[in-house]
Symmetry: C2
Subunit: 237 residues, 2 copies
């Protein structure tokens, strides 16, 4: 936690907030080794950031006092991510990575090589997804949660919805073997589409190109999805 | 395994290799669902790559036949990585990530914020390190193992050895808050220095700058080491 993310319900008044949940209390104790009087970085969810002083700390509650949470959080990344649903453990880590990198829109999509069982994973429960997003925000000192949507049917999603989104953004399809290398730095709002382990099948690639995506690659090395997503976002950003 | 990495001892003759270890046999069975006659990508350690046909497959052995393993492996990344020793689980994943990305020289170094206990971890055993490197090579279809060295003393390593290496390479110190952004693409052989979770202490930053490193940053977001290393290598590559 490089930032303590405060929900509206955490605020006692305009200058005080109280944390009660065991996860954050334990982290303050075990990792930050906080003591009364310590100053930490706080952020209001969807709002500003500032420094707060710890005025009370027990096993049950931590109270912070602050002047104002009025600094802007870091700029979002102008890249929306569409990702073939990864297997559950990789999903959890990938949500944290891409949230920390500043992505604000994440769509998890079905493709042929996504195992159907992944859609039944408890990691897809909204509470679990929310936890991983919060960990990503706390890491990167951000306050603005990404939106996450699930698209369990490939064709209607790509042909009916993604096609429309591409009227106003460029779509980049990361796929090994396509001719164009991944651009360095983007100048327009971008949708990045990343396939599953094992890749998209030909039909999916054709469908994505047909609706207006442009194929890009990261070189001849085949990377795990988790590695590739970070490498692509960093190269594009 | 996007490539089956063959040791010299796996070769039966110039056109046949036999795999006997349970890890690879199981992976061929469970993930590749191989059958006799299937064609897979093979690579000779430190050598070339080619396609081989499975001619025998049992619980004990898999035999491949091939014409030649004569294609070049992917180009190495001209970046040497010096990394504060991460905690064991993150070390394992990071070794795989950076090997897949093509780094050929990895130095794991002590710094103030590296917990001393990490140096006792079984993950630092040469066999364990080797396993993670092999996983990274198999992922990226590479055959050339990175070298990994351990530097448990910060000051003598930086002042006596790193200082000398920097005569012929540029050194980039990734450190939040330094003025220069991480360059996009490098033109010279480069040494990238990355700190531990929690960062370098001021003395360490000063020492690294004194011996000739240049500070660079990835923006105001604070990333986990695992994420930052991939993002830095991808931005620089």
């Amino acid at each position: 936690m490089n930032l303590i993310l405060l929900d509206d319900t955490d605020f006692l008044d305009r200058h005080q907030a109280c944390i009660r949940d065991p996860r954050r209390l334990q982290h303050l104790h075990d990792v930050h080794h906080v003591e009364i009087g310590d100053t930490l970085t706080l952020g209001r969810r969807e709002g500003g950031i500032g420094r707060g002083r710890l005025t009370e700390f027990s096993g049950q509650r931590a109270v912070f006092e602050f002047e104002a949470l009025d600094q802007a959080p870091p700029a979002p990344l102008p890249i929306e991510l569409i990702l073939a649903l990864p297997r559950p453990r990789m999903l959890a880590r990938t949500l944290e990575h891409v949230t920390a990198l500043g992505v604000k829109s994440i769509t998890l999509m079905h493709t042929r090589r996504v195992e159907k069982s992944y859609w039944q994973s408890p990691e897809l429960h909204p509470d679990k997804i929310h936890q991983h997003l919060v960990l990503g925000l706390e890491q990167a000192r951000d306050t603005r949660l990404p939106s996450v949507s699930l698209e369990p049917r490939f064709k209607p999603f790509v042909e009916d919805r993604l096609a429309g989104w591409l009227d106003e953004r460029q779509g980049l399809l990361a796929h090994p073997g396509t001719p164009a290398p991944c651009p360095r730095g983007i100048e327009h709002p971008t949708i990045l589409v990343v396939g599953p382990e094992g890749g998209f099948i030909d039909y999916e690639v054709d469908t994505l190109l047909d609706v207006g995506c442009q194929g890009i690659h990261l070189g001849e090395r085949i990377l795990r999805v988790e590695t590739a997503v970070i490498a692509l976002l960093s190269r594009l950003a």
